[in-house]
Symmetry: C2
Subunit: 218 residues, 2 copies
């Protein structure tokens, strides 16, 4: 694990949260090509600023377009929907729609195992793990970032999974499953306690899957 890389990622996100008030107004840059790499970076910077200032729920694509001084249609052309722009702005590798589809598609008895395998798919890859850890660290130490992640998780991850569960208290169920995944990330990849940190994925899947299965549909 590259601890320095995480720290940089954390700093970038936290800085966006802290420096948004000081962001200069940059109207009418004359030499900028429309739709070039600068525009993309401007949109991402504006998205980080707006999300940090107002939270995920209260930030509209329209407000980001206005802040970046681009046409809303161009914003949609580049980044699609709000959740996709959020993920791009944070460089966060989780694709909530893929997660929801993977967890829900298939037999009900395999929900827990599919979720834990999806999590390991993300976490055993060094590059995506570093991005997940950077976002988690930022959320653990910065209340603005925690609020942002909370809004995103509620709207795009917990909500859709809960909606597909035919069981009482679906939101609480999805969140309990999330606590086990977050705890696994902390124990195996952040604190890196042994033997958990070195245990093979195939040993851990049958230990963790029943927990997620019970929380989600038990």
């Amino acid at each position: 694990m590259n601890a320095q890389g995480d720290a940089d990622g954390t700093r970038t996100v936290a800085e966006a949260a802290q420096t948004q008030a000081a962001r200069p107004v940059t109207r009418g840059k004359p030499g900028r090509r429309p739709g070039g790499a600068d525009t993309r970076q401007d949109i991402l910077a504006a998205a980080r600023t707006e999300f940090a200032a107002h939270g995920y729920e209260n930030t509209s694509m329209r407000a980001i377009a206005r802040s970046a001084e681009v046409n809303a249609a161009l914003l949609h052309h580049y980044f699609g929907t709000k959740d996709q722009l959020f993920l791009a702005a944070l460089d966060f590798p989780l694709q909530p729609r893929e997660l929801t589809r993977r967890v829900i598609d298939g037999d009900r008895g395999g929900v827990g195992e599919r979720l834990v395998r999806f999590a390991f798919g993300l976490l055993e890859d060094a590059a995506s793990r570093e991005r997940v850890l950077a976002v988690l660290r930022a959320a653990a130490t910065n209340e603005q970032m925690a609020r942002l992640l909370r809004g995103f998780m509620a709207g795009e991850v917990v909500g859709p999974i809960a909606a597909a569960l035919d069981a009482p208290r679906p939101d609480l169920r999805a969140e309990l499953a999330m606590t086990q995944v977050v705890g696994l990330i902390m124990g195996r990849y952040v604190l890196a306690v042994e033997p958990l940190a070195s245990a093979p994925v195939e040993e851990l899947v049958p230990l963790l899957a029943p927990t997620l299965q019970r929380y989600l549909v038990g």
Copy 2:
């Protein structure tokens, strides 16, 4: 929750880890009363420095006494054993011996519930929760602090609980239980996702206890 208070606590611990190299050598302070409040603070400062520099496992009471320029007997008189000095230095409210005793004493079928109730006892109290969160945040963002907490957890928490479990792979079991507790802390108290953050303890205990029960002795 007082986010500012956490940030301060985190900073204090992280600072101890970062500034240890720059700590001045303070030999023979002439006006210091032996055994006074200054001595206690000197010992705690020396303990933070030594633990941060060498990790929990590789720091001896003798080395801390030498660093604080006090008699080793005085150190033991003030703080008892190494784990107690560690907890005092980090202002960390977890009493691992009480935890181990509480979890192990009683019928085997109630291990999971006793552990989750112990955790809530610590976390539902605002003062001790803030200290737990400060240590967890520091460990999430500072590799030296993560190493320190890892050594302490392995030696004083996971080890004793594992030793009392009559089941295969006891260390891995105790660590899996730890991941669920840490994930609960992150989800309910740090990210504070709803409805998890506001759910009554008595609703959560029967949901979480079977997970811990299965990890520990299932």
